[in-house]
Point group: C2
Chain length 309, copies 2
């Protein structure tokens, strides 16, 4: 007899789903994942979501109530329509992901928002930003995403795409980004771009895990690649704080774990950025959410619906 | 028998004040200005404000009611305390400008906010953003400033400094900024920096007015300086829209009039920025406020107090 949310997190490398109770805990055995990836066809992506959600729904116990489904999607998205165009999943452009999920849970309300909004809700609800009101939740992974709470209100924007910190420019860089612009944070600091930069400097390897291992072994190129990414993230946070005056930024995502020094390096870049106290005062902390954070955030679209714009 | 606001606009080159009626019109003969400037001492700045406000107050007619004083100040500011530290007026650091004005109008409530917030209020109230709810008002002048309305609410930030678009970074640039950072929009695109860049390319002149005249005469360096500034402004707007999903940006300020092509060039830079429709959809328009805009905005702190956070 538990009130549950079906939580779904769609990202560039995987889709995950789980059942999440009103206290933010995941139902044992309900968490599933399937790969996505930029090479997948539209049909393969839809099959991945369907299989993942179907496996999750099978974990329901008799008497459980499904209050709603919450979906956090990589951006861009199309307002509150449920349609998505994730930059790193080119097969889906204006794809009705919300509609697909509605078919899997007939009669149950489905809410889809940017993954960055979900992670921000999760940080405020259960993570490192509890009690805070001027917050950016961030993920540094295959992509770089985020979401904003300003003055205690989640900011979605008129098209639902507020929080795209990965496409805020970083001074001193001019790298091409997959979005078509140049110098975007994501095109500099993401895991894959950091790995690519390291290989261009002569490092041998192909994954963030290998980069992490090399850094632990003291490889100077790996350490430089990590510092380069963290510094770029810090500079983008400084721009964001200049624009919206943030108190705290909570950073999670796979690449943020590449080194124990990663988040402190981001914080140093913010603290040393300029003479403006309202910029340098922005605290940078590691997400205190586990790898469950994106699912907890998607569930917050259901369980904390009063905060969802 | 008119309800008036005392409106004060403090900028890097001048302070202005006027009496403003509840319909946003300035009282005839009440508008005064005094120079400020980065070389002024703290005492000279205080004298400029005092003289200016005193001259404005002398224009009151018998029976006029002074509802309050509204001050728009160049940033940074210190929350809602009335204290200011304008980057381009180094003699004032945490200076109690609000307190100074309180002494000039004893018993009258005084509200001080960033000038960018004021200009945004003015654009929504009387200018190019009437009826809009996701707005950035911008000034391109000695400095580059702005303010935000998101989801129909003015965003001030916990320290009052939200809207510092002039200190959002621009990719591809690494110029030193007076704030201590590198690649800030203001350090690239302001009037003085554009003039400086032109002289470094061999143009002869020293003011924005001269740059404007040279551009009208077809001088290629002057034209390039103007396009460089406008493109940088467009890129910063694109970053801002990636982060907060803006519908419209209204641009005013002296340097935005340097060429009839200036605002269209900014708009082109935004429209061509990336493949993200939620970024390129951002409309860039010229402020429809006259040079009275900053004063109308300062008056909005009094007459539209319900919108002021």
């Amino acid at each position: 007899m538990t009130d549950l949310a079906l939580a779904i997190d769609l990202g560039g490398t995987k889709v995950e789903s789980a059942l999440v109770a009103a206290d933010g805990t995941l139902v044992d055995g309900s968490r599933h994942r399937r790969p996505t990836g930029s090479a997948s066809s539209a049909e393969q992506l839809a099959a991945a979501v369907t299989e993942c959600v179907t496996a999750t729904l099978a974990a329901r116990a008799p008497g459980d109530t499904l209050l709603g489904a919450g979906i956090g999607s990589a951006g861009p998205i199309a307002g509150t329509s449920g349609n998505v165009s994730p930059l790193n999943l080119p097969a889906w452009r204006d794809y009705p992901l919300g509609g697909l999920v509605e078919q899997l849970v007939p009669g149950i309300p489905v809410t889809l928002r940017m993954d960055g909004i979900c992670i921000t809700l999760a940080e405020v609800w259960k993570g490192a930003a509890q009690g805070e009101t001027n917050v950016m939740g961030m993920i540094v992974s295959t992509g770089v995403g985020g979401g904003l709470m300003l003055g205690g209100r989640i900011i979605a924007g008129p098209t639902g795409n507020a929080g795209h910190i990965g496409h805020v420019a970083v001074s001193g860089f001019d790298d091409e980004c997959a979005c078509g612009a140049r110098g975007c944070l994501e095109g500099i600091a993401s895991g894959p771009r950091s790995v690519r930069w390291a290989t261009e400097q002569g490092w041998v390897g192909s994954t963030g895990e290998e980069l992490s291992a090399s850094a632990r072994a003291g490889d100077t190129i790996a350490l430089a690649a990590i510092e380069r990414s963290a510094t770029a993230v810090g500079r983008a946070i400084a721009s964001a704080s200049a624009l919206v005056d943030l108190d705290i930024v909570a950073i999670g995502g796979g690449f943020s774990h590449v080194s124990e020094q990663y988040v402190p390096l981001v914080g140093r870049a913010v603290a040393e950025h300029s003479d403006f106290g309202f910029v340098t005062k922005t605290r940078v902390v590691a997400s205190s959410l586990s790898g469950e954070g994106p699912l907890v955030g998607a569930a917050a679209l259901v369980h904390l619906s009063e905060l969802v714009p």
